[in-house]
Symmetry: C2
Subunit: 300 residues, 2 copies
């Protein structure tokens, strides 16, 4: 399906649209000299999610693709199962409400009692049975990551039009296949960007075993859990690691690559999937405008 179409005109099947006036706003202020400046900032608004008659959560989001966000959130929380049939997804833009309707009636009162606050740019609540599913997950051992793909992906992602380049202060997650970024979702909450991609995969019945997941954010325990839950065997970030994120990735057999910037990266789990088919010194290094985080640690 990677070659089926090019709706965005730059190789992506879907991405957040930096030109959408609903996603960022021009705000007036002053700079360090006291001179007036106008600057673009990303939008952040509440979206309340219902699963059938059950109110689940209110999320702060930039607001694009509420249908994907709703479905992906429910999947990543184990509130929706892969075999569930979605009969309707109703979004009311005025009320900031999205309702996911399924044939199977659900009730999560009990689950909503037990919550775990997770780390980093985390969605804040992970239900107990998510860890059970995590432990039961099996990732494709035959999946591979060519370093030539990695260098091509990071370059394409960094240079694609994005809200980050437009207004900053936003996270991005990208679903990739081989050397092609397929779906690039951005959000004020990184967890929302992840959930939108999970929703897109579910609604488009996209297999996970041959995919690579890229994130601008840190490789915390929650990012590792979500990637494994989604069945994606390879997780790449331009940011760093946490100790528990590494431990969980090793438990699950997830290939975990961090600090991927320009020609550099570090792999702390699942190294056996990496195919070194590219000379790092021949890889393009990053233009300063694409540096989101300090490269200092890489220079060590």
């Amino acid at each position: 399906m990677a070659s089926s179409s090019d709706p965005t005109g730059d190789g992506f099947l879907l991405r957040s649209d930096p030109s959408d006036p609903r996603l960022s706003a021009e705000v007036a202020g002053i700079d360090q000299t006291g001179a007036p400046v106008a600057t673009r900032v990303v939008t952040e608004k509440p979206l309340t999610l219902f699963l059938n008659r059950q109110e689940i959560v209110t999320m702060m989001t930039i607001g694009d693709h509420p249908d994907l966000l709703a479905v992906g959130y429910l999947l990543n929380q184990n509130m929706l199962r892969p075999d569930d049939e979605i009969t309707a997804i109703d979004h009311d833009e005025e009320l900031d409400v999205v309702v996911v309707r399924t044939t199977r009636e659900t009730d999560y009162e009990a689950k909503l009692q037990k919550k775990v606050r997770t780390s980093g740019c985390a969605q804040g609540t992970v239900f107990g049975d998510v860890m059970a599913s995590f432990e039961g997950a099996a990732l494709a051992s035959e999946a591979r990551l060519r370093t030539s793909w990695l260098y091509a992906l990071t370059h394409r992602i960094n240079t694609a039009p994005s809200l980050y380049l437009e207004a900053g202060a936003i996270h991005g997650c990208v679903l990739c296949q081989g050397d092609r970024p397929l779906v690039y979702m951005e959000d004020v909450g990184r967890h929302n960007a992840v959930d939108k991609i999970a929703g897109w995969m579910f609604l488009n019945v996209v297999p996970a075993a041959d995919k690579i997941f890229y994130t601008t954010g840190r490789l915390t325990s929650e990012m590792v859990i979500k990637t494994v839950m989604m069945g994606i065997p390879i997780l790449v970030s331009r940011s760093g690691f946490t100790a528990w994120g590494v431990e969980l990735a090793r438990q699950a057999g997830l290939t975990l690559i961090g600090r991927a910037r320009g020609r550099r990266f570090v792999a702390l789990a699942g190294q056996e999937r990496i195919v070194f088919d590219s000379d790092p010194d021949a890889a393009p290094d990053e233009a300063p405008r694409h540096r989101r985080k300090s490269a200092r640690k890489d220079e060590a």
Copy 2:
């Protein structure tokens, strides 16, 4: 009190200790050439918080200062009121449990039903009545921020020993007074760093009206709400803004300064508290090793 002592030897009253072996770990992996590398990563572990007999939440944290984190979390969630008397804070390091005991018995069953997932590196749940307190908050109009203080603070914070410089992938928040950083807390979740500072202020009966709050993270709605809840009139970040963060800061009369790196910054709310007493061109610019985020937006 800013001049009362210097326990850390570098001007801070308290900061996360990068030399504490419990806060980071050496992990083995490979780099882009396939060569083995050993790299430090920050710790991330669960801490379950009880208020008296009520289990409140399980947080993912680096694990330092659980007492400050516990008290600050409860304060910022309005589960603990300024007039509450804490009789004990018991931390069981083996069970990863912290219990805050108060004279007034509390029950938050009802509150735990209603939660709002907030954005960015947010703690994930904000209870309804927090917004009510936010709307009732009044910030010190006489407070000032000299640009000379801002330049001194950012330089001192960037050059202080930190887990960020040691292992990366961590957020930092700093309570400041004038040109002096007082308390520098780091955590995998920025919300935890904020809460630790709130806890320190409460337990040390530190006034908020003359303080400045610095964060490495984005100025989302939640950061603005927390700062206002803490009664601190000035919020500074090296990162960017969200539209709702700016809107809430303007509603509350909070001075909101973002993209503060080297000599540059942008103020989008409460500009009247800023005193331009320093020539930006004379301010030191940042060494590359202290750049956490792309400065691109600033160069626009």
